[in-house]
Structures are given as structure tokens and as C-alpha cells.
Amino acid sequence: MRKVMIGNHALSYGAKISRAQVIPAYPITPQTEVVELLSEMCANGEMDAKFIKVESEHSAMTASIGASATGARVFTATSAQGLALMHEVLHWAVGARTPIVMGNINRAMAPPWTIWTEQTDSLAQRDTGWMQLYAQNSQEVLDSVIQAYKVAEAVQIPAMVILAAFVLSHTSEAVELPEQGKVDEFLPPYEPEYRIDPANPHAFGGLTGPDGYFELRYQIQKAIEDALPKWDEVGAEFGEVFGRKYGLIETYKVEDAKNLIISSATLASTARTAVDTLREKGEKVGLLRIRIFRPFPSAQIRSILSSVDRAVVVDRNISFGASGIFYQEVKAAVYNEKNPPPIFGVIAGIGGRDVTKKDIIDIYEDIMRMDEPKSDIIWKGVRL
């Protein structure tokens, strides 16, 4: 069945079709439609789920952790300030190995108050251990929620499905709703090894000294490393069952490309159209979209970068005092290669400033005129 929906509702339908059982959530612009629709579907019986209308995002996450630890499938959603408020307990969800799936709408951080898109909110959580998936359209949002549960529950690590504020969260697109029966087969009920159960009592997260903590942390790293092939496997299986295949990265016209544009989320959609125009002009250019940011698909990125002459990473985020965050990670991934191509870092679209196809073409043409990267940041679109 096809249905026209905004990106936020694609998250809600993704949670519904994945049979999320507990949804603790707190409203924040531009996430509100996600939880409004979910609370309605919980209230009218369309979903067999408990909606907890918590008093803060911190409580949304701790209630999610508690519910997940009982073996329930849990969904929540937030954005920007809300995600930042959760920071402490994002770590908790990982340490407690609760495979929660959360939607995050990428919104720039205050002050000044703003609601438009930027990725710094979620990227600031990159070291918590949450898996992060940057989606580019509503169909991918919905499909990714289902896949996220499958991967998260397999490796016992929570996952964020991330979409750009307004550009995706509030844009209506036609979305194919998978059949419930097929989804149930693809995503069986969650059965954790350890759960809160009075019949089999355990303490969870008790005091652990230097003689035990290290091994627990090591296992988190191993689990999230295991998730890397799992995302590929699950994305391929999803393709077989539902006809839409997904990977860790997405490439476009890279086979013969000499130069590469690297980006994520909706910026990558814009970049794809720029690649088409540049190709018409005779440029040997391709696009690499990073879909899964955590775990970081270093090997896949290295393999694409091994055959190009130069690459430019377009970041809609900034790590103050350093540079664009995708840029840092891409550069780090190829640093130990024999002859890595020069990689240019562009910061664009901060605070939701529009990034057009023309902007991407300009960026490309600018870097083609440069001999080598002279600094870690090439600013695009800021009025200097």
C-alpha cells in the first residue's frame, strides 16, 4: 500500500509496523508529528502499545531503558535540545545493552533559539555507542526503522534513525507501507538473553571496578563492530523481501569517477542531482552517501576512495575547534593508506541555510581549481 506522508510520520509508521510496545516520548519541534501520530495510534487501538507521556526527554530515555530491559520493544523520538538532555542516559542505554530505536530530527542547537536543520545535535552523541543512520527520504526512514530493530536486537545496541528537520521531517512523499505479515516474519518478537524478571532475578548495572569494567566495554565495541556486516546483511535481506535494498553507504556513478563528492542525508540527495549536471558537463564525478555513521563503514569508504583522485566532504555540522565531522572521519579512515587522495572539507547549510544544487556544483568546481586542501574548512554559504 502506498501512502503520502511526511518524514516524521514515516518514523511513526515504522514504529507501528515494527510493533513497538512501549513509547515514552516528550514533544519538541520539529519532532512533534512523530509522537502525535503514535499517541493517537496507541489510544485508538491501532497499536498494541503503551505511550508514556513523560515530563522530559531525560525521562523519555530512562523510561525507554527500563521498558526495554523488561524485554519490550521500545521506540522514542526527539531532536536537538532533547537529544542533548538525554546525553547522560544515551550512555546508559548502551551500557545496559537495551536495543531501543529512536528517531532524531536533526535540528541546530541553541542559543540562539532555532529550529532548522543541522547535524551537530546527533553527531555530538557519536561517542555514546548508539548506532546512527542518516536517512535521505521518507521511504528510507520507514524501512530503516524496521532494519534498525533487527540489527539493534541482534547486537543489543540501540540505534538512531536520523532525518533532517523540515527538509525531510515535514516533506510529504509517497511511501510504500510494507505488509504487516511480511514485517512480522522479517522482524520476529524481541527475546533478550537477560531481562528484568522476578522469576529469574538479576541486578543490572551494579558497581563494577577496574577488574570487570574493561571487558564489558570491550564487548560493546565488539557488538557494534559486529553490527557493521549485520546492517549490510539486513539491508540485503530487506531488499529480497521488500524490493528495496540498503547498504552502509550508497554510491552513485562512482565506477569511473575520478572525483568524489561525499555527503549524507538530504544533502546527498541534492548532491546526486549536482552529479548529473556535472556529468553532462563532462566531469568524471561520483557521489558517496554515508548512510550508517556508527558503526563507521571505514573499509567500504576506503575501497571507494582508493580509485579516485580527490574527494570533497560536504558537512552540515561542525565540531568547533576542529572541522566538519564526516570530513574528520573520512580522512581518518584513509590516513594509513599508501596514497590517499586529497580530501577537502566543506561546511555548508549550518542552521538550516539552504544548500542548492548550484551550491554543490560551485563547491565541486572550487575544489577542482585548488591544488591541495589548505585548511580543514572551506566555508560555503556563510556571508563573510
Binding site: 551500557g95 545496559a96 545493552r97 543489543q156 538473553e193 537477560y194 529469574n200 532475578p201 538479576h202 541486578a203 543490572f204 548495572g205 551494579g206 563494577t208 577488574d211 570487570g212 571487558e215 564489558l216 570491550y218 564487548q219 557488538a223
Partner: protein, 107 residues
């Protein structure tokens, strides 16, 4: 159910460690009797079996031993010195003069 162990468990290797900090054993290994400076002693000649000491023990380190006398079920408090930390609450709360007295540990 959690298992009793004779010593604190430290997992040797990652492969032996559960994926999260989940308890599998009780605290019985921790013989808190070694914390004691003062030892409470029950004088069963004077003890009436009111079980006030049992009631107020925070460990718990006083067992309520059941027995029958004249066809009636009765209780007798028995201090478990393996775990008694020697706080002295039983001694202060005992309503019968001299039924619980204290000794310096090691006497």
C-alpha cells in the same frame, strides 16, 4: 536464581563475562563478621524469644529458629557470627535486662 559462592567472582576473560553487568551470584561470600569489634551474645537463660533483636537486625544476621514447646510453635533468635557486623542494635533494643550482652571481639 543467583548462586552462592565462597569468594568474590571476577571473570577471567571476556568470553566468560556476560554482555552486560548482570548479577549471577549472591553476596554470601562477603563474611561481614570480620567487620565486628563488639560481639553481641544472647543469654538464653534470660531470653524470652520475643524476637525484637531479630526484628531490628539490618543484615540480617539473626536467624529466627523455629521449635515446638508444649505443642506451641516458638522462635529462638540465633546470631549468625559469620555475618553479624556488631552494630549493637540488638543489644540496645532487647527489652530484657541482660538477655543480650556484649563482649569485645577476641575475648
Amino acid at each position: 536464581m543467583p548462586e552462592k559462592t565462597e569468594k568474590q567472582i571476577v571473570f577471567d576473560k571476556v568470553k566468560d563475562t556476560p554482555p552486560l553487568a548482570v548479577s549471577l551470584y549472591t553476596m554470601d561470600y562477603n563474611k561481614t563478621g570480620s567487620w565486628r569489634n563488639v560481639r553481641p551474645v544472647i543469654d538464653y537463660e534470660k531470653c524470652t524469644g520475643c524476637m525484637t533483636c531479630w526484628k531490628f537486625c539490618p543484615e540480617p544476621a539473626i536467624d529466627a529458629e523455629k521449635y515446638e514447646e508444649d505443642g506451641k510453635e516458638k522462635y529462638k533468635p540465633v546470631i549468625d557470627y559469620e555475618y553479624c557486623k556488631g552494630c549493637g542494635i540488638c543489644w540496645v533494643e532487647c527489652p530484657v535486662e541482660g538477655a543480650i550482652y556484649t563482649e569485645e571481639e577476641g575475648e
